[in-house]
């Protein structure tokens, strides 16, 4: 039995089991167990790929190569730590009366099913199934976002569904066009949406069809990444759901959409021979970074502010991949990794902070360090990390991106600096009073799970200081596959 079977099968089974038992008190532990099993299978899969190279599994329907295997492990890891975080967090939410047992059942089963859809999206070889997985991921999270049943969360969930649904329909149209291009080269009987087959013939795909297809795919999946101007669902959806949901949405789902865009970019570059795909991505990325930084400065709700920060960072990643070349691709991959780790860590601490204060408005949260030093320090370090302070990993990747930009696309560098600077100032100004200062907050009923926070931050620190050789090799391989 290949480990891929377990990587996909365990979350699916977990979803079904928790659909039945999710309201019991031990459901939280079941959730963690399933996530742990998924993570272990992902590690085994990684080792296998490291030893034997890229593999095609089950009638060529699944394809594991350096690009997606480390994303799979990252997803499984963050899924595990978020499940650990969610144990005390959701218990406190239940005590505060915001969650009822039937909703806990929904929450737990959807959590596992969501992991399944993300892992399916990463490992499938079929472009059509990537689409199905992305849409399924949207569907599983839509109910999660509205689980508190407040007016704001209903609005956020509705907007999320409709806007993402519209966006993703464009991506389906792009996929259809891709299939049409494949049919022209391979003939109707052998036409296929398998990425590996398309990769082999990408030089022969018709440029007109492929360029139109890429535009639709970028717009469609770009909506899920949160590229401006298709981003308006993101702040609402990330801010209104429970914090574990915000963490996985910001940290993981955006990566899946980015991955889908990357796979199609490889095909497009091969078919077109021009830099159109990269230029489009650079344009959208730059727009997202700048607009998000400015919107960020006006936010009063802490989770909204950090979701705009997610938009900003995904814009930066899109820009990096748009530039292309081995350094920029490497930087983009590294940034994806550290962003997931650090953003989810921040959401963990913010979650506990808002639970203490009972509100998400930043001006009412003060003096975290006095009440609960671990939460305070966690938030402080997390913010330092996400703002790009050395020696955290975000500094390394941002440095690489900025220097490459200055060298290859000098016109863009001022915008990037300006945006990053504005974001730096805005976030720091808001967070410092939250952490320091006098406090009127009460301690929490159950001890918060802060090991995940520090684990993530430690990993980000390590990645900033020293990248292990196998990880380095991975990134380089993936970067070259992307066209470095």
């Amino acid at each position: 039995m290949t480990p891929l079977f377990f990587v996909l099968g365990v979350p699916l089974l977990g979803g079904l089991v928790l659909a039945l038992t999710g309201h019991r008190t031990y459901a939280r532990d079941i959730n963690v167990t399933f996530s742990l099993l998924t993570f272990l299978s992902a590690c085994v899969l990684t080792v296998q790929v490291m030893d034997h190279g890229p593999q095609l599994v089950w009638h060529q329907q699944f394809y594991i190569d350096p690009l997606n295997v480390f994303l799979v492990t990252l997803t499984a890891f963050v899924g595990l730590t978020t499940a650990i975080f969610s144990r005390p967090y959701m218990r406190i939410e239940q005590d505060h009366g915001k969650m009822t047992p039937p909703r806990m059942r929904l929450y737990h089963s959807m959590y596992q099913l969501f992991s399944f859809t993300m892992l399916l999206g990463f490992t499938t070889n079929n472009l059509g199934i990537i689409w199905v997985a992305m849409e399924a991921a949207t569907l599983t999270t839509v109910l999660l976002v509205s689980v508190y049943r407040t007016t704001a969360s209903l609005e956020a969930a509705w907007k999320y569904f409709i806007l993402c649904g519209v966006g993703i329909a464009q991506a389906l149209f792009g996929t259809i066009l891709m299939y049409m291009a494949a049919e022209k080269v391979l003939g109707p009987e052998h036409a296929t949406l398998l990425w590996t087959s398309l990769n082999d013939i990408k030089g022969q795909l018709d440029p007109t069809i492929i360029s139109l297809a890429f535009v639709f795919l970028l717009i469609g999946y770009g909506t899920k990444i949160g590229l401006v101007p298709l981003h308006s669902w993101l702040p609402d959806a990330h801010a209104e759901g429970p914090t574990p949901v915000s963490a996985v949405l910001s940290g993981l789902l955006l990566n899946v959409a980015m991955y889908a865009v990357l796979r199609t970019k490889v095909l497009t570059d091969g078919a077109l021979g021009t830099a159109m795909a990269g230029q489009l991505m650079m344009g959208f990325g730059l727009l997202s970074v700048t607009v998000a930084a400015f919107f960020l400065s006006r936010q009063k709700d802490v989770k909204r502010m950090f979701s705009y920060s997610s938009i900003e960072h995904m814009g930066l990643i899109t820009f990096a991949f748009g530039m292309g070349g081995s350094l920029a691709n490497f930087a983009g991959l590294l940034h994806m990794t550290v962003h997931s780790l650090v953003k989810s860590a921040i959401f963990f601490t913010v979650g506990h902070a808002t639970q203490k204060a009972g509100t998400q408005v930043m001006s009412e949260i003060r003096g975290l360090i006095k009440v609960n030093p671990t939460v305070g320090w966690g938030l402080m370090l997390g913010v330092m990390a996400i703002l790009g302070m050395p020696p955290f990993g975000v500094f390394a990747s941002e440095f690489l991106i900025l220097t490459t930009a200055m060298r290859e696309q000098p016109w863009a560098a001022p915008f990037l600096f300006l945006a990053l600077g504005v974001a730096f100032a805005s976030i720091l100004i808001r967070v410092l009073p939250m952490v320091f200062g006098d406090s009127t907050l009460k301690p929490l009923a159950h001890p918060p799970a802060l090991i995940p926070v520090f684990l993530h931050l430690a990993l980000a620190l390590v990645l900033g200081l020293y990248i292990p050789s196998y990880l380095n090799g991975w990134y380089v391989q993936a970067a070259s596959m992307l066209g470095g």
């Binding site: 079929n126 199905v132 509705w158 649904g165 329909a169």
Partner: protein, 219 residues
């Protein structure tokens, strides 16, 4: 009969476009659901025709899937939902109907011009219908953003899926079966979730007017 197939397919494609337009200008929600059902029927007939003309049994399966899902099950569910939710009319739209139609025409022209170079390259019988399929998607999108009640927005979303399935059928004689089943499953689950949602919204706001869902803005 086979000689007539491209013309018949073009005819049904035009019918689908006409129905999309009718849906934009329709105010009564019951008629909207019936128009959607008719669009599904036209789509099913197109799939069967194309399958018959190109001797590809996959298209029969695809047509059958659309029949069960979009012609029978989903309209039945929508009718049941609106009976329970007690919505009948949707008086207000974002702009009035003539302006909506003009914007619709502009979108149709845009989609046609976008699709013309690509449809010339298509090797399928119904390649010319790519522009029509794209216009249907755009018109459903227009319906989504100009309607203020929840049920027309849901129908706009479903009609968009119709347009996409039509594009797949027309241009590439259907997608691989596994993808078609995946898409159908997504649509089904999506509609179920939307149904659940509408009840929750109605419970919370006592109305299905989407204008109430605009409180989360930048401050």
């Amino acid at each position: 009969m086979i000689k007539f197939a491209p013309q018949l397919i073009n005819l049904f494609a035009t019918l689908i476009l006409l129905l999309s337009f009718a849906m934009i200008s329709q105010r009564r929600i019951v008629s909207l659901i019936n128009l959607f059902m008719m669009q599904g029927v036209a789509l099913v007939i197109t799939s069967f025709l194309l399958g018959y003309a190109t001797h590809q049994p996959d298209l029969y399966v695809s047509g059958g899937l659309t029949l069960v899902l979009k012609v029978i099950f989903i309209p039945w569910m929508l009718h049941r939902m609106i009976r329970k939710l007690n919505v009948r009319w949707d008086i207000e739209t974002l702009f009035n109907v003539p302006t909506t139609m003009l914007v619709g025409i502009a979108l149709v022209i845009f989609s046609f011009s976008l699709a013309l170079p690509v449809s010339r390259l298509s090797s399928s019988l119904a390649g010319g219908s790519l522009g029509i399929a794209l216009s249907c998607v755009m018109l459903s999108f227009l319906m989504l953003i100009t309607r203020s009640k929840a049920v027309p927005q849901v129908i706009g979303f479903l009609s968009m899926e119709n347009g996409l399935i039509f594009a797949a059928t027309a241009v590439t004689n259907g997608m691989p079966m596994i993808v078609e089943f995946g898409i159908a499953l997504d649509v089904l689950v999506g509609v179920l979730i939307l149904g659940v949602f509408m009840f929750q919204i109605r419970e919370k706001f006592d109305t299905l007017d989407i204008h109430h869902l605009e409180t989360l803005k930048e401050d």
